[in-house]
Amino acid sequence: MSVLQVNTINEVTSANGVTIDGLSLKDGNVVPAVGKGIDFSAASGSASGSSSALLDDYEEGTWTPTGTNVANTSVGKYIKIGSMIHIQGWIIASASASTGNTFGGLPFSADSVGNALGGGSTMFQNADTHHRQYGLLVSGTGFSMYDGDSLATLGNGKQIHFQISYKAT
């Protein structure tokens, strides 16, 4: 086995970076090719029974909550780590009408095959004079708001702050 010992490897052409067996290093970053990432399949205990051991995606951005009478000032942010999606947001009902109890606009479709809907969250709203906590259930590209076993409605001009985690399709 040959051993290559160097202190520094620099790109020949600026902006091209350096590629080693398909893995690119550029400007201090590791840049995996499409569909590639960090392969944990050889790590002890990680691959057995796992449908995937490849961490191949990371992304951050914004999304816009939608729904009946959702004010257009409502906002959302997301982080995608592999197939796991974490979102947080702020939904405001219009000043003149309540929203429904189902919201849309999630940045990625949820994996709901086998009724594994995912979701679950914490949140609060100022629907009353005090903060209350509700449950959120994800399905497809939307989610529903529950107060115990019943669907809950966001009142006129009221707002919720929330976070949800789910698995993307």
């Binding site: 951005g61 816009t64 940045p107 990625f108 479709s109 095959v113 259930l137 399905s139 590209t141």
Partner: protein
């Protein structure tokens, strides 16, 4: 030294959900100065078979939507929605 804002759809993903499809669209929003990008961020949205696309101006997104969301796909989606119960 003129600053401009540029929004392009840089990713359109067709995702199969059982027997219908969802389009996952990503916009890259860039702040440009004299043609050079100073900063950028992503904004995402999804389109279901019954989505109202009348406000979508990107012709590529519209073409992809019309190609994927056939009547059969739309019918399958309605069947899917009807099968979704509440907990």
């Amino acid at each position: 030294m003129a600053l401009t804002k540029q929004t392009i759809t840089d990713k359109i993903e067709t995702v199969a959900v059982l027997d219908h499809y969802v389009l996952q669209c990503r916009e890259r929003i860039s702040v440009m100065e004299d043609g050079s990008e100073l900063s950028a961020s992503f904004h995402r949205y999804t389109l279901q078979p019954d989505s109202d696309v009348s406000t979508i101006s990107d012709p590529v997104v519209l073409a992809q939507f019309n190609a994927v969301m056939t009547q059969e796909v739309k019918d399958n989606y309605q069947t899917f929605l009807a099968s979704q119960g509440t907990e």
